[in-house]
């Protein structure tokens, strides 16, 4: 009796479906191990049936093992921008950064002009009273959460002493995820560099308006919105103590990212809902074709990211 062959088209097709969902660094080893296991299974079936291995036995063995996407999931650990055990430290750090930021905004307001620290500008509160104060506070919170989250994410990724499985933003990307992140990073850097002063444009009633002031153009609001969404999710995991994704948490995350992104992109104009009082302070007319094009690209990226999150919620709901 012959033994199961690695050339089986059924086996190769299964492993081909499995590969894109496995972590980049360990996919080769995982595939070799699973291939060996599958071949042993098929040989056992052949010995039981007293005949040579065939495609039917391969299909039977693979049915027993399960769908490749499901099998791959067990190899991919949950990733966090801010790990659950680091969340309290993150909150403290963000509060400290926010405190310093608000004090600087207060100083800029008292002096009546912006403070500049290299490329970073701290602007005074606008002239619209309480609305301006709230707008400045919201901007400060978003910016500080985003910056602190990025710092924790980078620190977590570099900290090899963190217990495996809980490392912040651990590099366990599948090829598609890694490629997607790299593409988004390149696009974000290009757009942010080229269209620095007019990052977001809303096309409304035939005119284009940028949604950026000089002091919000330093950090892309889209990244901030994504960071806030990810951190809110991480916070819910930390508070609730759950490590597995739940439909409710992802739905909240998805809705928050969509809502925040649309708001930052001037969604109130697009959706014809009443604008937040004072929002006009963030806008000025612009007519540059390239600025409009760049902002539409950015809006498309934001919406694609939001759609991906919502698709994940739908898939979870179907389990």
């Amino acid at each position: 009796m012959t033994t199961a062959s690695t050339d089986s088209p059924v086996l190769r097709a299964y492993l081909g479906r499995l590969r894109p969902h496995l972590p980049l660094r360990t996919s080769r080893d995982i595939l070799m191990e699973l291939e060996s296991d599958i071949l042993d299974r098929v040989d056992a079936l052949a010995e039981r049936d007293g005949r040579d291995p065939d495609d039917e036995m391969f299909r039977h063995a693979l049915e027993e093992i399960g769908e490749p996407e499901v099998v791959a999931q067990s190899y991919v650990r949950e990733r966090y921008l801010v790990a659950p055990e680091a969340y309290r430290t993150f909150l403290l750090a963000t509060a400290m950064v926010f405190g310093v930021h608000i004090v600087l905004v207060g100083i800029a307001t008292a002096l009546g002009h912006a403070l500049h620290f290299g490329p970073v500008g701290i602007a005074p509160v606008g002239p619209h009273g309480l609305v301006s104060v709230l707008a400045s506070a919201i901007h400060a919170v978003l910016l500080d959460i985003g910056i602190t989250a990025v710092a924790f994410g980078v620190a977590g990724a570099l900290n090899r002493n963190v217990r495996p499985g809980t490392r912040s933003f651990a590099v366990q990307a599948t090829p598609r995820q890694a490629g997607g992140r790299a593409l988004l990073a390149v696009l974000a850097i290009v757009v942010m560099t080229v269209f620095r002063d007019s990052l977001f444009v809303v096309v409304s009633e035939g005119r284009a308006y940028p949604l950026a002031t000089a002091w919000t153009a330093e950090v892309m609001p889209l990244i901030t919105a994504a960071m806030v969404g990810a951190v809110v999710k991480d916070g819910l995991y930390a508070i609730l103590g759950e490590r597995k994704t739940t439909l409710g948490i992802d739905a909240i995350h998805g809705a928050a990212v969509v809502a925040l992104t649309l708001y930052l992109l001037g969604g109130d104009a697009l959706l014809e809902v009443p604008a937040v009082p004072g929002i006009e302070m963030f806008r000025a007319p612009v007519s540059s074709f390239f600025e409009q094009l760049g902002s539409l690209v950015l809006a498309a990226i934001a919406l694609l990211a939001a759609m991906k999150t919502m698709r994940r919620c739908v898939r979870l709901a179907q389990l």
Binding site: T3, T6, T26, D29, I30, M32, E33, L34, S36, D37, L39, D40, R41, I65, G66, V70, V71, S74, Y75, P164, G165, T246, L247, L316, A317, L319
Partner: protein, 122 residues
């Protein structure tokens, strides 16, 4: 296991997950490969799937409790795992803890059974 799993199913999975790690550390004091380990677990009435076992093996290896190496001398390459000295020490601790918990649960269940008998007889 999806979100639709019932509580008993989830609880069963939780218990099994904890038992599996101790069982694996114990069985791998003798080096073997994944498929053979699956058969041995099945023989011990601990049936396990590839999607459960192999990630556990990798996780234990990441913790330094197992080592592995590929053996390419046979008819096909096989990855052999073996429990390290640290793994044996951890396994003994966990086994002792399991015995303690098992005895405690037996006591609790026995006490509950006694209370049930008392309430029945008034």
């Amino acid at each position: 296991m999806g979100l639709a799993a019932s509580f008993p199913e989830r609880a069963h999975a939780e218990i099994k997950r904890g038992v599996l790690q101790v069982a694996v550390l114990s069985l791998l004091r003798q080096p073997t490969y994944g498929y053979d380990l699956l058969k041995r677990l099945d023989a011990c009435d601990l049936p396990t799937e590839e999607g459960t076992l192999y990630p556990v093996l990798r996780r234990l290896q990441g913790e330094g409790l197992l080592t592995s190496e590929w053996d390419t001398s046979g008819s096909r390459p096989r990855k052999y795992y073996r429990t390290t000295d640290e793994g044996v020490a951890v396994m003994q601790q966990l086994a002792a803890e399991w015995s303690r918990v098992h005895a405690a649960l037996e006591a609790v269940l026995g006490e509950a059974d006694g209370n049930d008998d008392d309430s029945e007889h008034g």
